[in-house]
């Protein structure tokens, strides 16, 4: 992308927008650093190799964290009490310890002095092994891509699989890859966001999607490795690190070599009513793991447009992208890992709707020139008229071609009617191919007039976004929370008011004590050496 603005945007405005995002985000990062959550602690145990579940299906990590919490609270982290018990010889390994703990036959305490030093070093060794597995998986991905080749062109074609049954998903995903998909996303079961545990094993029952489990991740990645070999290009796998178990799912994704993860900074708060502090703490840890694993995150700005008017709310997308970018970079993610989201959701009956879409997409492209950007298709105005829907999807694809999107979620004309049929997917891919083949290079010739409708609209959206960030920065509440929390509480984002002391998962949050120790955070917080693309 050219360094000079094609939209006539003042670079000082862009700097101001980023400064505001940092000012709004920084107090939240500080808050996240001062807290831990049950899911962060469980993720740490997962990195140390504790997997599996008891006969009732409750994961051992939940059992062990609950037991430690009952004895010594959550505020010190679970690593010291857990490895102290192991060093004391209460059990030979984590699995046995978890079993004994859930039977009530182990007492945990916070070790001090020498005992603390021993527990610290034992836990660092165990968790370090998990992080090394993540490093190895990242290296394996890079080698695999070098050997079989990468997706041949941009945007990457992103297709969704959602049967609820992993053994049905696999042949569908392989068929979608053969038909041209570069990225396969396995949609999760609708309720999983609000489960405070990660289900175990291969699953065959889900609502509108398939549960994210370590075994399902492994099965699908193995199947796509096979297909990648066959096709001579690496097919990427996507899942969702959102909801109450963000950190754990991020750890599992790293361990099982997933390639992209949905991970938004505020989605859980606004759209799932998950406690804001829980979300920000979980989000930071999960993004640190993604950064380490070389995973590309996809943010969820499309959600702002499906619940509010896409013209009026355009600046909330830009604002969210700027905040997502700040939080992502702070957590160690690089530009090439930022699949910042936006969507084609303007009412087609609005005059100049296509020009407005183009303006918004160009603005995102210009603000984040190095980020891949994730472009999401119309859903709200897909009415069941599949013929008109097919035309809308073509215009969506055309904006994608004109704005150099990195990841294109393929729109289905049967959106809002059925989960995609084989023929729907084929027609949708024909649509993408036709547009990319016919107009993929059109952006070379396309320069919006500096004072035309598109450039003016883009500048207006940026100005509104700066205004909103400034308003957030100056927001306050009675409790003296950071401005962003106050803004979320008073309904700045849409009509949803989400106070910091409410929402799901709040009881799983604890302020860290002086003695808090988490070996995973220690490793992930340390400046990394030479991890490149």
């Amino acid at each position: 992308m050219a360094t000079t603005s094609t939209l006539g945007i003042d670079r000082a405005d862009v700097r101001r927008a980023r400064t505001l995002a940092r000012q709004v985000g920084k107090p939240i990062v500080d808050l996240a650093r001062r807290h831990t959550t049950v899911s962060v602690e469980r993720a740490t145990l997962r990195l140390a190799g504790l997997d599996g579940a008891d006969a009732e299906g409750t994961p051992w990590v939940n059992r062990l964290v609950d037991a430690v919490r009952a004895d010594c609270g959550l505020e010190h982290g679970v690593a010291l009490p857990v490895w102290d018990a192991l060093v004391r010889g209460e059990a030979d390994d984590l699995h046995v310890l978890a079993q004994k703990a859930s039977a009530g036959s182990v007492r945990f305490s916070l070790p001090e002095g020498r005992a603390a030093t021993r527990a610290r070093s034992a836990s660092s060794k165990a968790v370090g092994a998990g992080i090394r597995t993540i490093d190895r998986q990242r290296a394996r991905r890079e080698k695999f891509i070098k050997r079989v080749g990468d997706a041949p062109r941009k945007p990457w074609i992103y297709l969704i699989v959602a049967t609820g049954d992993i053994h049905e998903d696999i042949p569908q995903a392989q068929a979608a890859a053969r038909a041209g998909a570069d990225v396969i996303a396995v949609i999760r079961s609708t309720g999983q966001s609000l489960l405070d545990f990660v289900p175990e094993g291969a699953t065959r029952e889900g609502f509108a999607g398939t549960y994210a489990t370590q075994e399902n991740f492994r099965l699908m990645r193995a199947a796509l490795d096979e297909t990648s070999q066959e096709l001579g290009r690496y097919v990427r796998l996507t899942n969702y690190a959102s909801g109450l178990c963000m950190p754990e799912i991020a750890a599992l994704a790293g361990l099982e070599r997933l390639d992209m993860m949905l991970n938004d900074s505020m989605y859980g708060i606004l759209f799932r009513d998950i406690n804001p502090i829980r979300t920000f703490v979980d989000q930071r840890f999960s993004r640190q793991v993604h950064a380490r694993a070389g995973i590309i995150i996809n943010t969820g700005e499309d959600n702002y447009l499906t619940t509010a008017d896409a013209v009026e709310a355009a600046h909330t997308v830009t604002t969210s992208q700027l905040l997502n970018e700040y939080f992502a970079k702070e957590a160690g993610l690089e530009d090439w890992q930022l699949g910042l989201g936006h969507a084609f959701e303007i009412d087609p009956d609005v005059p100049d709707s296509f020009r407005l879409e183009l303006a918004h997409a160009l603005l995102a492209r210009e603000l984040f020139p190095e980020a891949p950007l994730k472009w999401m298709p119309p859903t709200r105005h897909m009415t069941g008229d599949i013929f008109r829907g097919y035309l809308l999807d073509a215009f969506f694809n055309l904006v994608g071609a004109l704005t150099d999107q990195g990841i294109l979620l393929v729109g289905m004309m049967t959106e809002a009617v059925v989960t995609p049929w084989l023929s729907d997917r084929d027609l949708a891919l024909q649509n993408v191919r036709y547009v990319m083949n016919a107009a993929g290079n059109l952006r070379e010739d396309f320069h919006p007039a500096p004072d035309g409708f598109i450039a003016t609209r883009a500048r207006q959206v940026l100005a509104e976004s700066i205004q909103l960030l400034d308003q957030i920065r100056n927001d306050t509440d009675a409790a003296g929370d950071p401005p962003l929390l106050a803004a979320i509480a008073d309904g700045t984002f849409g009509l949803m008011k989400r106070p910091a002391d409410r929402g799901k998962g709040l009881d799983g949050v604890a302020a860290k004590s002086e003695a808090y120790f988490n070996p995973a955070t220690e490793i992930l917080d340390a400046p990394k050496q030479g991890a490149g693309k």
Binding site: R272, D273, T307, L422, S423
Partner: protein, 246 residues
């Protein structure tokens, strides 16, 4: 005008179009199989205008043809609107006069359904199809519980707010989740309230059948395209006008 046929470009031509996929590779035989299916569905003659291999071992077809069936519009049964359509002003006036207090509406999406599009279209001021949502009505008190509300939470909120009506939206329909959730919800309200005190139960979503209200145990089912004005008018009809009349 009660007997009609599909219309292509000439009255009485009976022309329809159809698309489908057969699980066989594309060949002359596959095209013949597509014609056979269309014939069995009553299309005679049937013309395969498009056949394309899709994936491995599948072929997609578009077929045009003439059906001989007649449609008798007199024999069609649907749920017609049985209440007058009111403007917000008329609705407010009716509530004020008939009820002498604000009418309380509690709404939300139950089960695991996270799609608030439907309930928001009806409740939010923003509204739908050019009509303002129920929050816009001065004489309506709207409590929107949002997504993924459990049935006990919904019952508790209805009690706490002394709801006159409960509105539930269901978009996700996998494995008939919308029907199961609705039955669970109506059963819970029947259990929690004496019959004459129970709030009016209204359910809506794009995949409901309007004729199913009795089966689902609710007072009214609204389906795709329903506007806030229709819902408000129905509430006034059942909760205000009916009471005043009796």
């Amino acid at each position: 005008m009660s007997i009609i046929r599909p219309y292509g470009d000439t009255t009485g031509d009976g022309m329809v179009q159809l698309s489908f996929t057969l699980p066989m590779p594309h060949s002359k035989v596959a095209e013949g199989a597509a014609v056979q299916l269309a014939n069995k569905m009553g299309m005679e003659p049937a013309l395969v205008v498009h056949a394309k291999p899709v994936g491995e071992g599948f072929t997609f077809f578009v077929v045009y043809g003439r059906v001989s069936h007649l449609v008798d519009t007199d024999a069609v049964s649907v749920v017609e609107r049985d209440y007058p359509l009111l403007t917000p002003k008329e609705a407010n006036a009716a509530i004020k006069q008939g009820l002498r207090r604000r009418l309380v509406v509690v709404g939300g999406c139950i089960g695991t359904d996270a799609h608030t599009v439907g309930i928001d279209a009806i409740l939010n001021i923003k509204g739908f199809a050019g009509e303002k949502g129920l929050e816009y009505y001065r004489e309506l008190k709207v409590v929107n519980l949002g997504a993924q509300v459990s049935v006990p939470e919904l019952v508790a909120a209805a009690r706490a707010e002394k709801a006159d009506a409960v509105l539930v939206s269901q978009v996700v329909t996998q494995r008939d989740a919308h029907l199961l959730n609705t039955r669970e919800m109506s059963a819970a309200f029947r259990e929690a309230y004496p019959a004459d005190r129970r709030p009016l139960l209204v359910v809506g979503g794009p995949r409901f059948d309007e004729a199913m209200s009795a089966d689902l145990g609710v007072d009214r089912v609204f389906t795709r395209g329903t506007t806030p004005g229709e819902v408000a008018s129905f509430l006034v009809h059942r909760l205000v006008s009916a009471k005043v009349a009796s």
